[in-house]
């Protein structure tokens, strides 16, 4: 079979405003052989928009039916392409456009149903590649839109379900920072949507701390430490506002930080060569001094001790550690 590499046919058909099924078929052939041919995705939009406008001429039910069919067919066309080219921006982007058209043109229940099906699709895509940032970005769009289309109650339950989803993805692979990142964002939404009290927020924080401590069974995994760093922002007076528990008192913050330092120090046993542990100890100790308003000489000595380990364990970033040393 001849593979269409050039858009010549499509170019002229679109230029002549031949927005027919035949043109769409040509465009499909071109895109199937080369989905990076972005101009052809724009042709496709033009043809679809023309067909939508034709359908809108009939009565409401018939119009909704035809438009749904056009959209569903097109969504279907994209699936093998997404599977073969999961990192192609244009396909994801076109699919979102199509879904926005569904939202714009169809009655709410039909639009909701179409958007709802996307969650299953993106779930499959993320199972195939759990770090695909197109997939994660797409998932956020779908969830945000479903929340906008639904009631406040539905939005809350959606966030809860997504929280479970992120948990499942983390459970499948603790190194998946994409899922940890999503978890950070979801916790914020969950608490905000529930108008959570400071006590609720604190309970959530306690749960997260105990979760990450359990996860630290592999202290060499950078993803876990970045999640830990996210959690520590709760105790940072200049960042707390952006976190799940913004209103802790200074003495509570200190108490938490001191507990963390103790927990992390225990991890050193058997993992003395793990640089992340020293980094976290330093960061937490600095955080404590930030809350207290000054760095005690005892803490300073501790930091210098950890720093000398870091300089040995982490030669790639030696200059960073030397710069830091000068600030002490």
């Amino acid at each position: 079979m001849a593979v269409p590499l050039r858009a010549d046919d499509c170019d002229s058909m679109v230029a002549e405003h031949e927005y027919t099924i035949e043109t769409l078929k040509k465009i499909s052939e071109l895109l199937s052989s080369n989905p990076e041919y972005y101009t052809a995705w724009n042709y496709r939009r033009q043809v679809l928009q023309y067909q939508f406008s034709q359908a809108e001429g009939s009565d409401d039910d018939a119009a909704a039916h035809s438009i749904t069919e056009l959209i569903m067919n097109d969504l279907h066309f994209l699936i093998p392409l997404l599977r073969s080219f999961p990192k192609c921006y244009w396909i994801w982007n076109y699919r979102l456009w199509l879904l926005d058209e569904a939202r714009r043109l169809l009655p709410l229940p039909e639009a909701q149903q179409i958007w709802q099906q996307e969650l299953a699709l993106v779930g499959k895509m993320l199972t195939l590649d759990s770090r695909n940032f197109h997939g994660w970005g797409y998932r956020r769009f779908v969830v945000e839109t479903l929340k906008e289309l639904g009631t406040a109650e539905e939005a809350r339950s959606m966030t809860q379900k997504e929280f479970e989803y992120a948990k499942k993805m983390i459970g499948a692979n603790l190194s998946n920072f994409s899922a940890w990142h999503y978890r950070t964002k979801l916790i914020q939404s969950l608490l905000d949507e529930q108008s959570a009290s400071d006590d609720d927020r604190r309970r959530m924080l306690d749960d997260e701390l105990s979760l990450i401590h359990q996860a630290f069974i592999d202290p060499y995994d950078q993803s876990l430490w970045f999640y830990h760093q996210n959690l520590m922002c709760v105790f940072d007076p200049s960042m707390a506002e952006r976190t799940m528990a913004p209103n802790l008192s200074s003495s509570d913050r200190l108490q938490y930080i001191r507990n963390e330092i103790e927990e992390i120090q225990e991890m050193l046993d058997g993992a003395e060569d793990c640089k992340y542990i020293y980094q976290a100890l330093i960061e937490c100790t600095l955080l404590a001094s930030k809350v207290e308003g000054s760095l005690s000489s005892e803490d300073r000595d501790q930091i210098l001790g950890w720093l000398s380990e870091l300089k040995k364990l982490d030669p790639l970033r030696r200059e960073r550690w030397l710069d830091f040393e000068k600030t002490l």
Binding site: D11, F133, R317, R320
Partner: protein, 333 residues
């Protein structure tokens, strides 16, 4: 300029030498491969390809390798009536290619050709870009609405080179970037998205152009960026991912913009990048053992230039990924 990958592969064995003349030949020959299937499959990147090839040749100290007139002709043949540029003649205008067109025209000192032979002068290009700004300060790639911090950076990059920054709302663009910052000090593609080194480059680059690097938590971001260097010496783009030679630019220039390029091991980085080159047929791959292509060739060389690798022309880490001698002249006064 085609983006055909290969023919060679990154060698993957330690090599302290940069095979400059091979890379020049590799780039020069890219456009002679029109009989290859992949030439046509990469048409969607052709204008980017010219920018990558041209800039790489400048870095290699061979700025006059590509014929200037033909280059101008090709760039102008990609312009649409709306002032924007597509990837190749007949392709729709899009931010990504418009930025490449501007970078090429500045590099070969041919912006006035827009007035003489293009579809309107530089203001027309500027207005295409400015019309893509959204109310929240972000930018779309084209009329169909995708937004991404890449497009915001591209807009500011091109407009500053054209000296047309006043066409857009810079404070709003800056506010949008701030909304993409995560707790790790790094940035994502849109608000809520995971931090990604490529996206960090676009956000920090835009802030640099806007003169607002004061908004960056430099130690925190510098720490995140420096953790991108892994044992092989190369940089990855996100935690627990593989290294890729192009991140030597995305991560390296971001570190340079916040004065922390020394926080990584430059020698080990250079050694990794050199392992990605094909010493016989030229070109660089994403990682040792893979097929070379012009995108990775350009960003590998840009990364090496950033590290002041011997024999390479200096790249501008702040204003645009272009030769410093050119941006200095363009932005002076």
């Amino acid at each position: 300029m085609a983006l055909v990958s290969g023919p060679g592969r990154g060698e993957g064995i330690p090599d302290s030498e940069l095979h400059s003349s091979k890379h020049v030949t590799y780039i020069k020959n890219l456009d002679t491969r029109k009989d290859e299937l992949e030439y046509w499959l990469t048409e969607h990147l052709r204008l980017n390809g010219v920018y990558w090839g041209l800039t790489a040749l400048h870095i290699l100290g061979c700025p006059d390798t590509l014929p200037r007139d033909q280059t101008i002709d090709f760039v102008l043949s990609c312009q649409s009536d709306n002032g924007g540029f597509g990837a190749a003649p007949g392709h729709d205008a899009h931010m990504l290619y418009t930025v490449s067109a501007v970078q090429i025209l500045i590099t070969i000192d041919a912006v006035d050709e827009l007035e003489k032979r293009g579809r309107g002068g530089k203001e027309k290009v500027g207005s295409f870009i400015a019309n893509l700004q959204n109310a929240d300060g972000s930018f779309m790639g084209d009329q169909w609405g995708e937004t991404d911090t890449r497009f915001l950076y591209g807009a500011l990059n091109a407009l500053s080179l054209l000296r047309l920054m006043d066409l857009v709302d810079v404070p709003k663009a800056v506010a949008h970037i701030q909304s993409c910052e995560n707790l790790d000090g790094a940035y994502g593609i849109r608000p809520g998205a995971e931090s990604h080194a490529g996206q960090v480059f676009t956000c920090i680059g835009a802030l640099a152009i806007a003169g607002r690097l004061d908004l960056v938590n430099k130690d925190r971001l510098g720490a995140w960026l420096s953790e991108r260097q892994i044992e092989s010496g190369g940089f990855n783009g996100r935690p627990e991912k593989l290294a890729d030679a192009c991140y030597s630019w995305w991560v390296g220039s971001s570190l340079a913009m916040i004065d922390r390029l020394h926080w990584i091991d430059g020698e080990k980085l250079a050694a990794f990048v050199l392992q990605c080159q094909d010493p016989d047929a030229g070109g660089f791959a994403d990682r040792p053992g893979n097929m070379v292509d012009v995108y990775h060739t350009h960003f590998s060389l840009a990364g090496l230039s950033l590290l002041k690798f011997n024999g390479l022309e200096e790249i501008d880490a702040i204003n645009s990924c272009m030769p410093k001698a050119i941006t200095a002249k363009c932005l002076a006064g």
